[in-house]
Symmetry: C2
């Protein structure tokens, strides 16, 4: 039996040589990997930047996520933060720390997920640099950049009473998929790969909402062009993230019971859908649909009633740091 | 006895509230922390970007490094990569993943190290965003940005036969300090805090070369202005990094025996000094001193003789992933 190449067996330099050709190119790249730093175009004299780490245990389980899933999701979550400013994503840098025994094929799959995720969600955006290290804990840190194309950034602070509240992308689909994984992707109470593989064959599309989500990145700049007054990426659930917009803008956000009133929609995290507010009468762009209105006041209402339960228990936190 | 606040005991949000006020502000920041992403000025329509992760175990030991050391070094290593392009550092984003039991005071010390390191090495550069996560392994991922001020980036590829080879910053001081830590900062063969504290009281300045280095960041832009043809940050030792410049430029680099011929200088890593080449006759800027010449050929020579031993054993790699 031939042993699979690992990070330890072929070394950092050879591993990078296997990963680099799989990474997506960035149209904005002026000078790419291979020097001390890269140089990226910022045509309007500014750039948008966000960073997010994914940690084995709190953020994902290797029994559930493939390398491809992890690369795709690392792209998706960061691209959504760029899009939520109304910017077009231009480039990523990716730092990966992995145990020495990690198979190179797994790291190649992460690169494939980054490439295919960028191609699907933000064509032209690519990886312009990175870092590969050894760690006891698999960690993927992505920093993403975007171009505002001369527009003002769309912050969380601009919502005004009378604005329409709209969302693009699913509400609660990621939490529903996570519940399915905890119910059926386990064996004797633990996340389990073979069980998950069978579940994936049956429910792949549903699971993708959690494992490899596809937030509507292009709708970020579309919302900005349509005059969005505030925008946020739904990382922590509609109720909590809408409350952030309400607090930053000094308003209340009143959500429709019918379109946003389910428990999964309100408190389910990690959809990375875009929540935006638009002046009344705006023709909503892309996949945006109205789910409420902005009112004077504070906090989040559902059907006119104050909604206080903002988030659920995060089942990832129960992980003890040593298991799969 | 009052228990110290930890990441787990006060939570992510309160911890961020303690860290944020200690972080350095960036003059280039147009929109800072608190939204989905930050917006940074890029006055000449481009920005330089580099990313580097520090991992507990392979990159540092908690028995040797204080939180302040780690913040300072995380800034220093990334600022040096920006400076090596000839750019002025403008901003950092910092993602930290730490065990749940990590004391908030330790994370505050990291922030203090970032702030004081930026103030000392790159005034005006600040932290514009970040991410805080829980992980079994303490991990600090920094992405740094720089402004080329309209100049072309100084890459590794421009050295020409006849150029002077020069360095700014120490050669081998970091490796010497690491050897001292392995010799005297241990107890029964293991890195040990109390032993190290006594060593630090006696040899603090020497140890700082490894634990909290101060590379000559301002000399990066100075070198570019003086016409540097190639530049690199000395991460992996003079011999290996000079070989990278030689390979990228298609030349040989011949180092003086007297100024660069010691084993520590040649193979000791992590000085983060700047190695640059300048046209013959250039008045060397800042702290640069001549240590050799560029010749036709390939590889690294010392006193005219090919030097093949490029790097030493990395003692950090002997760490087993579980110890201090």
């Amino acid at each position: 039996m031939e042993l699979a190449d690992t990070l330890a067996s072929i070394g950092e330099s050879a591993t990078l040589g296997r990963i680099f050709p799989r990474l997506p190119a960035a149209a904005a790249q002026l000078l790419g990997p291979g020097d001390d730093a890269a140089v990226i175009a910022a045509p309007d004299g500014r750039f948008v930047v966000t960073t997010d780490m994914m940690i084995h245990g709190p953020d994902f389980r290797l029994a559930w996520s493939t390398g491809h899933d992890l690369g795709w999701k690392a792209a998706a979550t960061n691209l959504a933060d760029v899009a939520a400013m109304g910017a077009v994503p231009t480039a990523l840098v990716v730092a990966i720390a992995a145990p020495a025994h990690t198979e190179v094929a797994f790291l190649e799959a992460i690169a494939d997920g980054l490439r295919e995720g960028c191609a699907a969600m933000a064509p032209g955006c690519g990886v312009v640099g990175g870092d590969l290290s050894v760690s006891a804990t698999l960690t993927i840190a992505v920093t993403a950049f975007g171009d505002l194309e001369g527009r003002a950034p769309v912050t969380r602070a601009g919502a005004r009473p009378g604005d329409v509240v709209a969302v693009s992308g699913p509400l609660g689909a990621s939490a529903t998929a996570l519940a399915l994984l905890f119910a059926e992707g386990v064996h004797e109470g633990e996340p389990h790969r073979e069980t998950t593989d069978r579940l994936r064959a049956r429910e792949g599309a549903a699971l993708a909402a959690q494992l490899a989500p596809t937030p509507p990145i292009a709708d970020g700049p579309r919302a900005a062009l349509a005059g969005a007054t505030a925008m946020i990426d739904l990382s922590d659930g509609l109720a909590l993230d809408a409350r952030r917009v309400a607090a930053a803008s000094g308003v209340a956000i009143d959500l429709d019971t019918a379109s946003a009133g389910s428990r999964e929609a309100l408190v389910g995290g990690e959809d990375h859908s875009l929540l935006a507010t638009f002046p009344a009468g705006t023709r909503l762009p892309g996949g945006f649909r109205a789910i409420g209105v902005v009112r004077e006041g504070s906090g989040v209402l559902v059907g006119g009633h104050l909604f206080d339960a903002l988030g659920g228990w995060d089942p990832y936190l129960a992980w003890d740091g040593q298991r799969g």
